[in-house]
Symmetry: C2
Subunit: 403 residues, 2 copies
Amino acid sequence: MSPARGIADSAALRASNVARALSEIRRRGEAARVDLVETLDLSPATVSGIISDLLEADLIIEAPSAVAAGRGRPRIQLSLNPRARIVAGAKLSDDGVTVAILDFCGEVLSTGEVATDQATIDAPMLLTKIDIALKRALQGAKLKDRDLAAFGLGVPGFVDVESGLCHWSPLLSGAPIDLRALLSKRLSCPIFVDNDANLATMAELWFGHGRDERDFLVVTVEHGVGLGIVLDTQLFRGARGLGAEFGHTKVQIDGALCRCGQRGCLEAYVSDYALAREAGLAVKGATGPEDILDKLAEQAKAGDDVSASIYRRAGRMLGLGLANLLNIFDPPLIILAGERMQNHDLLATEIQRTLAANTLAVDRPSARVSVHRWGDQLWARGAGALALDGLMSRAPIAQAEVA
Amino acid sequence: MSPARGIADSAALRASNVARALSEIRRRGEAARVDLVETLDLSPATVSGIISDLLEADLIIEAPSAVAAGRGRPRIQLSLNPRARIVAGAKLSDDGVTVAILDFCGEVLSTGEVATDQATIDAPMLLTKIDIALKRALQGAKLKDRDLAAFGLGVPGFVDVESGLCHWSPLLSGAPIDLRALLSKRLSCPIFVDNDANLATMAELWFGHGRDERDFLVVTVEHGVGLGIVLDTQLFRGARGLGAEFGHTKVQIDGALCRCGQRGCLEAYVSDYALAREAGLAVKGATGPEDILDKLAEQAKAGDDVSASIYRRAGRMLGLGLANLLNIFDPPLIILAGERMQNHDLLATEIQRTLAANTLAVDRPSARVSVHRWGDQLWARGAGALALDGLMSRAPIAQAEVA
DNA sequence: AAAAATAGTTCTGTGACTGAACTATATTAG
DNA sequence: CTAATATAGTTCAGTCACAGAACTATTTTT
């Protein structure tokens, strides 16, 4: 039985259908009205009206007529108006802060970066860093603060999306920090804050491998291990609004010590620092923490068995964690994302082997595993997608009239 | 951004609101129109119309006026009409088949059971057993086949809810079996089939500890270990319509051998057969498989350390599995259900300890863990709830007119 | 007995959707 | 070259769900 939720009045009905139309145009890149009639299961009359509203609000534009295939009146292709909204997305990583400016289509107009020289920074420092990176990005696109319709920020750790509060982050001191309040001092546009794994997931959903899937999982492997969950084309954030904490899934009881203080966390086997910890025994004469990982990968690829065994174990643990996810969510697709995924070939075999050995086969295809290498700029783009999503998920046209 | 889903036309809008009203009345047991106005966020006028339709369809009844508290016109309490629909629910366990007959309020009118003498049965045998148990149950309630508005069946294993197909079950030979087609030979009413953990979950949602929660998890511990997930008051069945497979979550890499053929499954540590396997070393002079578990529990309670250690390990593994679930779903409530939960005090300490040690504390209350002892008849009631839910989740009034 | 409070109904207006008829614009057949 | 056909999109009238406001109903309080 359906529960106490759903759309109550007809205004909400229209808003929902407008959002569905806009979302479908975004997903396809281009769509004619007939396409929407079919996909959204609405009558031509209704679609006509919705599109008319969207055109009036300048959120979409009619293409100057593409190709005319077949006979009959040629379809008029509709696409998002790139200039309809400009948003900024920021990602906090242990390198520093990266900001990307996105147009309404999600294209990156410019980026700006600033490095951090400390392991953790406090709230005022974060604001300063974001300010600098944002200024650089805005300059690159020749834009001003007030051109921004929304701002999205992703940080690792526990973030409450509703309140914009960061409960804990490995990169921030002085938590809990009200990130939304903090940014509101600097910007007057709506602020959206989320866990960084959700950024990657949003980007995969909007621009990446998840574009054509209703359900998939994104596992990010970097300094930590994150998980994003898409169910029925919607980002799922856990029952209480907090992001999924996959890095601290236990893959070994009383296992390796994790930076969270517990033992046996997945992160304690597959993250950068976990690899570096073991690499000390395999790599000689490294000049720094970055270098040791590069050398480790190099040696493993060259056939050094000790080095390779470090990757093998990481792959096995990651595979085990993924197998558990598959057993619960049963998604058709899992995306592995992250900068470290450049060495995924070192992990891949073991991941696949462990997955196969630990998931139950039924008479249907098992999940595809796809790998996506990610840099900071893609994370920032995901933060921008978050901002666009936050902006558009309510009442897109009403917002247009305000603007 | 909202995706390509939602309510399209206004007929669906009404259907949705009717279902919401009905669901709310069921949840509360009794509700006045004003209550629905507040809870469903609809106008008095709309609620008036919806209730009028439901009364006309005989799905609900007006109470003969309860107490008149305070001044003003006394509210007219509405409740479900118990006689509006009669459904049957069946549960296949390794003991046999249990059937329960439920009225529209979910009250059990009668039950019927039949034992099986083999470990696995095939499709014709299943149908025979269900037939016998159903006949007994119907006799008890003085009802006929054609009084049934729907039939729900729960089996352990992999079940595709949409198609009614059982891909695999530990209790059925000859899989895949089209259970819906099988039962359609015997009954002309709609048939709903699901994984048995989902039955328990549906029952907790409708009648049990989950009644007042929007989000919770149900972990069933019996001969296998099952998981049911409720998100936003809806049973979640995995991306591809299959139940969550928690029993084969891996809690130990290359761990104990499971009956699924893999190693380290949670089930291989906490299910009946796993306990019995280890109990062989601790218990002397047991007369049979049931007896060995009873003796094991007895000895453990009496302070025998070897016996207690078996429970300790089971509790630790279950705690680890639960910790991983908490990290992903972050629910406010976890319900442990099952017949074996009679010995939960033997597991409880270790579960709590492991949970505490393996979940990350943030500045908010952690999940409550509640324990619910379940017998076969409660499972069957869950199957009935499944049937009621399936029947009502679409267009309750339209169905009334057909009937 | 009148006033106040609360519950529920009826009526009217707004708006969202659909179906059907219509217009627009292309290709193809003769 | 014209008519037929096919496809895309618009307009208009009708239906239906909802909300707001005025109404009725029923109780307690003053």
